[in-house]
């Protein structure tokens, strides 16, 4: 890598959040929150409110989602939601995510 003064450049930055030891909340915040977070623009939250009701709109507030169901939807997608590949969201991270959502 070419040498450039550190005042203007940061070289060889760390990999982006690829750690295998992410917590379930960290996985949710990285991969899920943009569609399933709170707020009036989150696609998944809006659609779940329309189709399942307001009380089932936020995944983090639900207690009726089995881990195996969450894992299937993440890996296969559902309607508008595409699947997540195992290189980007690993099986270990998926386990952490489901633990977080089903705790």
């Amino acid at each position: 890598m070419k040498p450039i003064a550190l005042t203007v450049s940061v070289a060889f930055l760390a990999a982006t959040a690829a750690a295998a030891d992410m917590t379930g909340k960290e996985v949710f915040d990285r991969h899920c929150v943009h569609c399933h977070g709170p707020g009036n623009e989150a696609t998944g939250t809006l659609q779940l409110a329309r189709t399942r009701g307001e009380d089932k709109a936020l995944l983090t507030e639900r207690d009726d989602l089995p881990a195996v169901y969450i894992q299937m939807i993440v890996r296969q997608g559902l309607k508008a939601m595409p699947a997540f590949v195992p290189s980007d969201l690993t099986d270990a991270q998926l386990k952490a995510l489901t633990d977080y959502l089903t705790q």
């Binding site: 203007v8 659609q47 309607k79 508008a80």
Partner: protein, 524 residues
Amino acid sequence: MAEPLPPGVSADRMAETLERFGQIVGKEWVFTGEQTASYHDPYPISNDDARYRAHAAVAPASVEQVQEIVKAANASGVPLWPVSRGKNFAYGGAAPVLSGSIVLDMSRMNRILEVNEKFGYALVEPGVSYFDLYNYLQANGLKLWLDVPDPGWGSVMGNALDHGVGYTPYGDHFMMQCGMEVVLANGDVVRTGMGAMPGNNTWQLFKYGFGPYVDGLFSQSNFGIVTKMGIWLMPEPAGYRPYMITFEREDDIAEVIEILRPLRLNNVIQNAATIRSLVLDAAISSTRSQYYSRTGPIPDSVARKIMADQDIGMWNFCGALYGPPPIIDALWTVIRDAFAKVPGAKFYFPEDRKRRPDILIHRAETMRGVPKLTEFNFLNWAGGGGHIGFSPVSPTTGTDALKQYRMVSGRVREYGFDYMGLLAIGFRELHHVTVIVYDKTNTDERRRLDECFNLLVKEAAAEGYGEYRTHIQYMDAIAGTYKWNDNALLKMHQTIKDALDPKGILAPGKSGIWPKHLRDGRQA
């Protein structure tokens, strides 16, 4: 169903190849069987489930691993389908054109290698998403803005390589690309432009280097695997003012485009602005069933009701101004006065918009490079989740815009879909992107969509309009429309393909370019 094998590859040879891939990257990064489900096209159109299916996927973590994978694929003849992050969702996602291909999933190569604030650029690997780069700039307080497409989870590199566009003055992403590192089909690594010169320090500053400029050969192509790419970033401006101008009638688009062309050519309109249709914008915050319960396209009376409810127009022009406030004030005066000539035009700033969610509030973020996924709301317009983009290019003239609109909206509505289109404004051309939202679980709707799409391609070509980008299912059809002088361009692509990738292991069928052994029976 069992995952398919590519033509001419036995099950044994495939198994040996996957074994070798496992030795290169580690077995846990080779995905087979049920694990390939997440690599399927999430929004399929074909009703033949055997089409566009990967056999497996392999995810390398380094350039050296990519080189070894390519060498192994060359030895076995197993085709690879490289994807950066595989999130090119309206165009096939991570799925290959040729069934049985192995997806070369570059998601793990996700390092931001350099960000240079002084010169305004980043050097990234394929797996870096817009969210990743944005978060990095924010965390480090760097005064640089991204340019983002609508979905922020895609690859910075992948979007540029597929000629994606965004919404700031840096909206033409491939124009803002500078310098590449590419693994060729024989495993050699090439750096383009100034990167070819040892010790040079302008790889991300000057595109052309010396001799032929080759970076374009690696966009929308299957001539190599890009492993590093420079992307220019916009210095944070001294001021920012997003705005929206709405227009009431469908035919206003002709006058609007005539007004817009000189403003864009002269950089009075500074950004890659968009003019968006009623239903596309309404779908950001509402669903079809809230307004209309019958099948078929919504009638005009319903369109008027949506306009009134959401305070939007039949067309909505979202733009933004950037720079010192006095310059913004002067530019806005010119823009406002120009569009005030259109009867019924209304002018808005974000503070004028009270409804939530709101299209200008949303656009105000994307036009300053904030990555989001809000745009995915439109997938729920009709409830079935599927979408595809039909994206012909035309000159920036009112005549062409109106003609395009009538051609495409007429056909789309004839086939029972609502027209959801936008005109992305380049300096001299329009990308007319029509999103067709469909029920991906409905086989009849998929069949109708396929028939409609093929007709759109054919009719556009007959009028001289070509698509700039497409779904994997239509790559042959669209490549076939670029056929001047007995398919001379496609023949040249094939000549390059045969020279750089004689065994045809890289992305067979990408952009209609097939290797020699799979070319029989296809055009040219």
